[in-house]
Symmetry: C2
Subunit: 80 residues, 2 copies
Amino acid sequence: MKAEVYVTLKNGILDPQGKAVQQSLHHLGYAAVKDVRLGKYIEIELSPMPLDEAKRQVAEMCRKLLANTVIENFRFEIKE
Amino acid sequence: MKAEVYVTLKNGILDPQGKAVQQSLHHLGYAAVKDVRLGKYIEIELSPMPLDEAKRQVAEMCRKLLANTVIENFRFEIKE
């Protein structure tokens, strides 16, 4: 089974890297770009286990290692 | 409207950062983790435009700037 984890900066947290990408896109001529926020996308391949247990473990991994919950949000999906 | 872009390493491309995360998860006791791949998740806020035009522009942004298509794949969703 596989977990797909998305880690994004919380609203209100500055994202200078996103701003840099936004400026680059403007320089390339994409005037329609109003904002860019960069986040992480993490694919975790897991040994088979009950869905509830997988959800519990992945949420714990996010809180302990994958996301900095002071400034980042996370969400994830588990796929069989 | 908003574009959600996912950039992932192609299969067969080594992901040392993913391996480092995988090892850290093992050290934390998550023995069920078989593989970890790290990618990017990019949110782009766009001025309103026809959906087809948004798809065209975002695909072009990915090829020109957001993804290195030699080693990375990209996919995206456009949300109103």
